[in-house]
């Protein structure tokens, strides 16, 4: 884990911990207050009072049944004079039944156990009742009557007492445990918060790793670039600031790579120029004495041997021809060695196109050895000016080489006509381009990187300096020249130059 990652995780952890720790603290206070309001002694006392009231109600009902039984006894004693006068007993019991709701039935038996009167209330369907019998003895005359009073109250009263008692019981337990119950809530809340912290932390770690790994990759890539490796390229996926930074880094590395390539190439060209200068110097000096010596040998032969004279003349001709070739090479080497640096000034690329167009007829004449090569050359430029900073003469010299090569290639393939060369200049938003393409045989792809090296040539009489000069000139313009395959099948050279202003 990197230090950066640790710092980010620490920041995430601190932020989450402070926020959620604070919430636990506040929740604890709030819960205790809510619990204190909801579960307090007053409510508990009221519940207990409710239970006591229901119990008192039942006890009162029980007392009322005793009173009702006593009342029945007294009424029987007052209303019946003797055991034989039982006819008044029925109406009397009916009256008592109507008067006392708690009484369900009254049964009167004589001393011998015979039932002498009975009244009962019709049962209410669907209502469970708890009943009991209160027995009384009534003295009537000399006899004793046994009165069984069946009293009943709804079962619901007992059930309600039980329910109230259980509610009061639970409430009482809650009240006793109030502190610990609110603590349980806080603990559960705390555990859940802790889980949230862990999840948040893990998510933070995963997300931060995605960021920090990209930052770490940038740091590692920077180290690689610092060590001289300009091939580093980082992937740019997400659309965020890190991605923008990565894109900028990639662009910077690409620029550095191109700059280094440019510098290396120019250094190499400079070395080749130095070599060409020395070579030209070393070869040029002995050429004149060689030529003069050959001429003198041929002209001052004193003998009469015609065959020998003829050999001398032949040798002189060969020497003069080779010396002339060497002089041409020396001239080209010398010109390459003296190739000046580009002197840039603000120009319109279309001026270069015009200059190229003007030189086309001479090129065709030269390549066709006086009869004009049958190659169609089209030169075009954008309708609007293409502002670039360029050395017109240098760039024309380089471009001449490319156009000449293109015409030669097209001519070599189609000497009797049909060869075509297209030269055009155009621009995009930030770049100007000059494109030269032909329908010649093209250049094998494996040679595309080498064609700009000095002294690399595929032509028997070529020096291999033309495209090297082109590249040097283009690089000095801050541009690039590339080779690929033209749509027509031949070669396509594309010179890229920076635009210097809006178009």
């Amino acid at each position: 884990m990197s230090r950066f990652e640790r710092k980010i995780l620490f920041a995430i952890g601190l932020a989450v911990f402070l926020a959620l720790g604070g919430s636990i603290f506040l929740a604890q206070g709030a819960l205790r207050e809510v619990y204190r309001v909801g579960v307090n002694e007053r409510f508990g006392a009221e519940l207990v009072h409710g239970v006591e009231a229901r119990r008192a109600q039942l006890m009162a009902l029980r007392a009322s049944t005793e009173l009702a039984a006593d009342a029945v006894r007294w009424a029987v004693e007052a209303g019946v004079r003797s055991e034989r006068e039982t006819e008044a007993l029925g109406p009397l019991l009916e009256t008592l039944l109507q008067r006392y709701e708690v009484i369900q039935a009254i049964r009167v038996t004589d001393s011998r156990g015979r039932e002498i009167a009975r009244v009962s209330r019709p049962t209410t369907p669907g209502q469970a009742m708890r009943s009991t019998v209160r027995e009384r003895e009534a003295t009537v005359g000399n006899a004793t009557l046994l009165i069984a009073v069946e009293v009943a109250v709804p079962e619901m009263y007992f059930a309600r007492l039980q329910q109230a008692g259980e509610a009061a019981d639970v409430y009482s337990r809650l009240q006793r445990q109030s502190a610990s119950v609110s603590d349980i809530y806080v603990w559960v809340f705390g555990v859940l918060v802790f889980l949230v912290i862990v999840v948040a932390f893990l998510l933070g770690a995963i997300l931060s790793r995605r960021v920090t790994s990209r930052v770490a990759a940038l740091a590692e890539a920077s180290r690689q670039v610092g060590a001289g490796d300009f091939t580093v390229t980082l992937p740019t996926g997400a659309r965020d600031e890190i991605s923008e930074l990565t894109q900028a880094f990639n662009a910077m590395v690409r620029d550095l790579r191109e700059s280094r390539t440019r510098i290396e190439y120019l250094q190499r060209i400079s070395a080749w120029q130095d070599f060409a200068r020395r070579l030209a110097h070393e070869i040029k000096n002995p050429l004149t004495p060689i030529q003069l010596a050959a001429q003198e040998m041929a002209e001052t032969y004193p003998g009469d041997d015609e065959a020998y004279r003829h050999k001398l003349e032949h040798a002189r001709a060969i020497i003069e021809e080779e010396v002339a070739t060497l002089r041409r090479l020396v001239g080209e080497f010398s010109a390459f060695a003296k190739l000046p640096s580009a002197d840039l000034s603000a120009s319109d690329l279309c001026e270069l196109m015009q200059a190229i167009e003007d030189s086309i007829p001479a090129m065709l004449e030269d390549i066709g050895r006086g009869s004009g090569a049958p190659v169609e050359v089209r030169v075009s430029c954008a309708t609007r000016p293409i502002p670039v900073r360029m050395d017109l003469m240098m760039l024309k010299r380089g471009l001449d080489n490319i156009v000449r090569n293109a015409i030669q290639a097209a001519y070599s393939t189609k000497p009797s006509g049909g060869g075509r060369v297209l030269v055009r200049a155009y621009a995009t938003d930030h770049k100007a381009f000059v494109e030269v393409r032909d329908n010649g045989p093209g250049i094998p792809e494996e040679d595309w990187d080498r064609v700009f090296d000095p002294y690399y040539t595929t032509k028997p009489e070529g020096t291999g300096l033309g495209l090297a000069i082109v590249k040097k000139v283009v690089l000095e313009h801050g541009g690039e020249v590339r080779l690929d395959r033209a749509p027509e099948g031949g070669a396509r050279f594309r010179i890229e130059l920076p635009l210097t202003g809006p178009r």
Partner: protein
């Protein structure tokens, strides 16, 4: 592996500690056809407050759980539980005790306590629970509780508020355990005895 061994040692030590600190009470153990019959008294569960509660007219529960364990182990070989729901009858004088589906009536509270807390010849487990364990030392653990609120009743009384609140169900579950536990609990164990050959 080392952690598992240490955890096991801790568990064994904790069990041994708990057993050592559990009060030992005299219990009679008779073996009848391969099953132990235990007799003991847990009447001291009913202190003054319990007696008052039992006389309140509300239904109260006396619950006795007896379990057989190997010495030095928490592993339960057999368990037996019985419950008395005691209600003082406010309509008639006396007490109604419901055991399972049947009910009995008693005139006095002492009769109720004798019936529910003075246990005589209670079978603990089937013969198969003790088969092939002859000669091993065991003990009986007794837990007598006054008025534990049953799980079902507790769930009816303490319910989480409806909704998707994740805290509610968890918290209510813990609160239920705390609130619905017995109002008074008595725990003890027997002396160690051996499963007869």
């Amino acid at each position: 592996m080392r952690y598992w061994i240490s955890a096991l040692i801790w568990v064994v030590a904790a069990v041994a500690y708990a057993q050592a600190h559990l009060p030992v009470r005299e219990m009679r153990v008779d073996w009848d056809r391969g099953s132990p019959k235990v007799s003991f008294s847990a009447r001291d569960l009913a202190d003054e407050s319990v007696r008052q509660e039992l006389s309140s007219g509300l239904r109260k529960r006396l619950q006795v759980t007896v379990s057989a364990h190997f010495k030095g182990s928490n592993r339960r070989m057999a368990v037996r539980q019985f419950t008395c729901d005691v209600t003082r009858d406010l309509w008639e004088d006396g007490y109604v005790v419901r055991i399972g589906t049947g009910s009995l009536s008693f005139k006095t509270l002492d009769q109720v306590l004798d019936h529910c807390l003075a246990v005589k010849g209670l079978f603990v487990g089937e013969p198969k629970s003790y088969a092939s364990r002859e000669g091993r030392e065991i003990y009986f653990y007794v837990r007598a509780e006054f008025n534990p609120i049953s799980k079902k009743q507790c769930q009816e009384l303490i319910r989480p508020s409806p909704g998707d609140d994740p805290v509610g169900p968890i918290t209510v579950s813990i609160v239920r355990r705390r609130i619905c536990q017995a109002e008074r609990t008595l725990e003890f164990r027997s002396d160690f005895s051996r499963v007869p050959e």
